[in-house]
């Protein structure tokens, strides 16, 4: 169903971090941007759709005011808002927001870090744009920071802090079907597998809490009012967001899942794990009748690689990209 295409070489190998691959399509310029985190560097590659041009950029996690600190990066993710695209980088020290091509840093938010390290590590992880003008970023304390993003310029403000989680945030996702009918449009997940379902607005409204089973939910997606969650046990679970009803449970992988992605137009679901497998599934959800179907379509084994990032390259799921720990390339697969 899918076949391997030419790989994209990276300047550095990928670190073992959840959701360690982000993809942004710039349709007017026929370009795709990819980012992969390597320790304290974000590797960025811009590729032309004809596959002829590649350009690389590296971003260091540096606090703008204090030239003396570099810190390990936890995640880099593109956030596509209707008015602008930003690249958000979360690290041990704080949150950086760049123009999507990585050229200019437009905002910096420092985390409260204790002077001497404490038993609990401090970091930001879990990044998602939601609604017209918000970017949410999770923190190791369990807090979720909501930033209000103006349609242009650098006047970004921290508008709200959501404090419902007690464990470190792992991932955040917003409704990606484009449907305005879905009441819930944001889901946040944590290290204990707990999830909170939100409705965004001037004040974010907590709609539901889905309790965890004491195993990390490492990657989460929200599609057609259904929460898709990947866990450390290798399971994928599908919950109705607002009620928390469990619709489906899949014994999907033999090791920790590191990444889930959904192609919103076709309902293809991608799951990737430390077991070196990437699997493609097909989802059919009819909210009106509460019907959920999930079928397995395809396996790809990236031999001897613990996969840490996997993303579709387009909304139909025509192609997807994969990277793994210690791997200095992005492997691409395209539908045959």
């Amino acid at each position: 169903m899918f076949h391997k295409e030419k790989s994209i070489q990276l300047k550095n190998s990928a670190s073992a971090l959840y959701n360690n691959l982000s993809v942004l399509r710039i349709a007017p310029r026929r370009l795709t941007y990819f980012t992969v985190v390597h320790a304290n560097v974000v590797n960025m590659v811009s590729t032309s759709w004809d596959g002829l041009n590649y350009s690389h950029r590296q971003l260091q996690s540096k606090e703008p005011n204090v030239a003396t600190s570099t810190s390990l990066i936890m995640q880099a993710a593109f956030c596509a808002l209707p008015s602008r695209d930003l690249l958000v980088v979360s690290s041990q020290k704080g949150i950086q927001m760049y123009e999507s091509d990585g050229s200019i840093m437009v905002y910096w938010h420092a985390l409260d870090t204790p002077e001497a390290p404490t038993a609990h590590a401090v970091f930001a992880r879990g990044i998602s744009a939601v609604s017209d003008n918000y970017i949410c970023v999770g923190v190791s304390s369990g807090a979720v920071l909501v930033f209000d993003i103006p349609s242009k310029g650098s006047n970004i403000t921290l508008s709200e802090v959501l404090e419902e989680h007690k464990e470190a945030i792992t991932d955040i996702a917003s409704e990606c079907s484009g449907s305005q009918e879905c009441l819930a449009n944001l889901v946040t997940a944590d290290d204990g597998g707990n999830m909170c379902v939100w409705k965004s607005g001037e004040e974010f409204q907590l709609l539901n809490k889905i309790p965890g089973l004491d195993i990390t939910c490492s990657s989460v997606k929200l599609w057609k009012g259904t929460v898709l969650a990947g866990y450390g046990t290798g399971q994928i679970r599908l919950y109705e967001a607002v009620t928390g009803i469990l619709h489906a449970e899949v014994n999907a992988h033999a090791r920790w899942i590191y990444s889930l992605d959904i192609a919103p137009f076709s309902g293809l679901l991608l799951s990737a794990a430390e077991d070196s497998f990437v699997r493609v599934w097909h989802l059919a959800i009819t909210p009106e009748t509460n019907s959920v179907e999930i079928a397995h379509l395809h396996n790809e084994c990236v031999t001897d690689t613990q996969i840490c990032g996997a993303k579709f390259c387009d909304g139909d799921g025509y192609a997807f990209a994969v990277t793994g720990y210690d791997l200095s390339e992005i492997i691409r697969y395209v539908q045959s």
Binding site: H38, V250, A254
Partner: protein
Amino acid sequence: MSTRTLPLLFINLGGEMLYILDQRLRAQNIPADKAKKVSTVPAWIEEDRKRVMNDIITTMFNKKFLEELFKPQELYSKKALRTVFDRLAHASIMRLNQASMDKLYDLMTMAFKYQVLLCPRPKDILLVSFNHMDAIKDFVKDTPSILSQVDETYQQLIEMYTPLSNGEFQLIRQTLLIFFQDMHIRVSIFLKDKVQNSNGRFVLPTNGPVPRGTQIPGLIRIFSCSGEELTRLQFNNGGNYSSALREGSFEMFGNRITKLGTNMYSVSRPVETHMSGTSKSSAQHTKVNSAPNPLAKEELNLLARLMGGLEVQKPGSTDTGFRVNLFATDEEEEEALISRPNELSYGVISIQATKDQQANAELTKIMGEFTESGDPSSSASSKGDDLLAMMDGL
């Protein structure tokens, strides 16, 4: 990332070091007349082997040293940690030259990288550590004073780590994987066992038991709104998995179930390395390492504090100092030193302990506490000066 990583890194690397040294010391434990013919390395007697093992383990589990180690902190750079192990390897009468030390460190790090990468669940890193601790206890089982020192650390490990959540263990594991990132040194014992490929990457099996708490992939279940199971679908998982093994013991005693972290060397399976990292990734490796680290000074102060707890014997006079060779012959060792790719060489870092007031005060304090239980072979009064001089001479 995780501030709880350093104790596990130190204990597991230390455990691997002890396995290798024990194997080499036993291998060189041959009658003196025979030894003269094949090597200039003087023969070891069983008593020397025990002394070296005891000295290193005593140093490793020094109370003051471990107190510093167990404080929450970020990991050191590769160079700083290498310096700690250089000192530790020379905590007894045994001497290793540069090539042998490089080889020892490569073997230790690749062995632990393998264990971290392969451990079925992040939490199993603790079982790997317990396998090392069990073996260390066995090394000193005839010396009650050292044994109780090791037991104390064992207790501390259990208290600190068993309450941690899966997510926290995964963060520790991810921190360790960043530390070992881009290291692809080929190790002959792994190549022979077919667990490492010729490009230096480890083999990840897609068969065998799944981790505890994980089901064999292949089942989809759909539920109704009331929670009834509506359908069950099977799919091909592309591997050949079996059900999970039983849980290993997270107590001081018991079967750890996992073999990761146990001693893989024996006299019939000697220590060897192929010193060829894949060229591309070694270059990257250096690039990361040579990036200026603005935290270096802070780190060196921490290191100086740590090293303050590391008791090191003065190099013995020629008749008491024993040299251990990690290679089959002396010629091979010399050749390895010359042919070692530059990017794989570990630079030596210099700590100006005497010049740093704060570190100096701290060191003096530690050494003050040190003299009480001081090494009888060196006089208590000169001990402090020796240690400071040693720091400067690193």
